[in-house]
Symmetry: C2
Subunit: 370 residues, 2 copies
């Protein structure tokens, strides 16, 4: 067993709904509360289990919406009240991660924090631990460190991190500097990146001293930083917290941490990266869910759902069954069928990214099934 | 308004389940009890409404299973008890139509009967009436008369009727003799038939004097005929019927009327045909259901179901909605989605004929949803 790193604290932002996985993923049952691998437990719990050996289970904070508090506490029965940071409304990742960093930094000024999305699938835990341990070593030197995934295909579904020269840090033999962050590319560009080998997938993980992370926010977004400081100051004072949250939280700028921390830090040569050699997938849509679950299944039809009754004849793709209905598929290839009590989706792997458009349309006509 | 023909009696065999329309069509909700056209009423009721002007509503008999008695009487509130002929178990069309002919012939020796499937879609009623009126005129001359549909495409889903020379009968200017009946052909043969013009689709309608029809059965299947006679003799005797039905019905040979009446009569030059110029479809599978319902709908996606909530993006084919669920279709072409409370079917028009195979498989593992 790995010994936990004593000055390290894990942060799990559990916020996004995962619109591209509708109708499996919902406002009241977001992606991180699902078992997407047939492992028998939710992605959130998987994330917790991965982090417990690194920071110790008492040093894992979850930032989530008020509506998900009960579900989160049910999934993580060991979590202390003081480690649940509730958002009164979603305000994007700078606010979520910044709030956690600000509170933890106040409690423990030299703390190193690591932020890890709640809804990814990661296999081979010891390789994950090894990457995070290296990232902590780099963070201790004052860098902001991210973990990048060596691409296994020219994906257009992920952002990329361009590595620069190597960074010499004790305990982090694979560390490198980051030249820049790039958004999801088109296919031609993705192919260049894939051939280039100096590009890694951005897995949305950040490890840094809390004060260094907050320093980047202070630099790039002084107002947002000031708001986070106000919140952190009041947070552990039971009487003060409520009014400050009500006043400050709704005013915080909604912006991803990539823009407020990662990109500016990369520009100023303060961003490092460790390659993660573990199996990784952010399961962004049903095409990747199908791929993730079809290994070795007959006819390549993946079936998700413990009570599934599926009768397939020349069918491939994925079926997600959340009802007890018999589902019969005949002659449909690369199909995606998601069967829930109040909504049914039928599409193909090729069209999986378009699911978000349906969710947008439902905001007008079908809020009851969002 | 047409005057009913005084010596004519309509028979509606309402027996088949329509396996290729599973899970819409079920043992307890067979095809003839569905509205497949969005007309607002069932196919059985449509059939009744088409026949009422020809025989009068008091002279329409329905042959159906005991399990469907209540549903049939609900659909046809005007039907007299004496016009409902219940089968204790299905024994194919010779037994069903033969039973009705035998009972009616006993009640009214010179009666002309016409048998019309309960589950077809027919448009332009006055053309249907005109065809049946001609067929009645031919039947009165001692022929067995069928109605054949001039093909609109080289279908492999129907049997064909090969016309021979014309038949001179007063009141039936379009009458012709039938050379032979042919089973569903392969595509090459269907193309020949379509080009030939002397082939018509077999719509499964037979019009004849009841005694002539029964004479054909007596000739081809003497035992079956004897059973029908025993049943007819006891039928209208309340005390006698039950025991005779229990004894005789289960012993009747299961055989289609095509083999016992139509083919032998054609061979002996006793089968005539009238072309039916009305729109006709037997809606044998979901491909034809899609075609039937997609006229003029945007993107060619047909939607069947009064409470349907369908959100489609680049989808074509057909959705049958029997639940209140939101159904979202993205980028699926020629798709068939049938959404019922306990079973879901997803296939394509091209695979529509394979639905029967699923039903066969369910006989082993899923009788609860048949």
């Amino acid at each position: 067993m790995t010994e936990p790193v004593s000055d390290f604290y894990s942060i799990i932002p559990a916020g996004g709904i995962g619109s591209r996985l509708w109708p499996l993923s919902r406002a009241d049952a977001p992606k991180f509360l699902h078992d997407l691998t047939g492992s028998g437990q939710t992605l959130l719990r998987d994330t917790w289990d991965r982090l417990a050996p690194l920071s110790g289970p008492d040093r894992i904070a979850v930032v989530t919406g008020r509506a998900h508090r009960a579900a989160v506490e049910k999934e993580l029965p060991g979590i202390a009240d003081a480690n649940v940071f509730l958002e009164s409304e979603p305000r994007e990742s700078t606010a979520a991660i910044g709030l956690a960093a600000a509170i933890l930094s106040r409690r423990e000024p030299d703390v190193i924090v690591g932020s890890f999305p709640a809804d990814q699938v990661i296999r081979v835990p010891h390789l994950f631990e090894w990457a995070v341990q290296q990232a902590i070593a780099v963070a201790r030197e004052g860098y902001i460190c991210t973990i990048g995934i060596p691409p296994t295909e020219p994906s257009i579904g992920f952002g990329y991190i361009k590595k620069a020269g190597e960074l010499i840090v004790d305990g982090a033999p694979e560390a490198a500097m980051v030249e820049r962050f790039v958004e999801k590319p088109n296919l031609a560009t993705a192919k260049e990146y894939f051939a280039d080998r100096s590009y890694l997938w951005n897995a949305g993980m950040f490890i840094a001293r809390a004060d260094v992370l907050l320093g980047e926010i202070a630099e790039s977004r002084p107002q947002l930083y000031a708001g986070l400081m106000d919140l952190a100051e009041a947070w552990d004072d039971h009487a003060a917290r409520g009014p400050v949250v009500d006043r400050v939280w709704p005013t915080l700028e909604k912006i991803a941490i990539d823009y407020t921390v990662a990109e500016p830090a990369a520009e100023r040569g303060r961003l490092a990266v460790i390659p993660g050699h573990f199996d990784w997938d952010d399961v962004g849509d049903f095409a990747s869910l199908a791929k993730l679950n079809s290994h070795g299944r007959k006819n390549d039809l993946a079936i998700l759902g413990s009570n599934a009754r599926v009768l397939a004849d020349s069918a491939s793709g994925i079926v997600v069954s959340q009802t007890k209905r018999v589902i019969s598929l005949i002659g449909v290839k690369d199909i995606v069928v998601v069967d829930t009590p109040d909504a049914l989706l039928v599409t193909t792997s090729e069209n999986a990214q378009r699911v978000k458009g349906v969710v947008d349309a439902l905001k007008l006509t079908g809020r009851d099934v969002l």
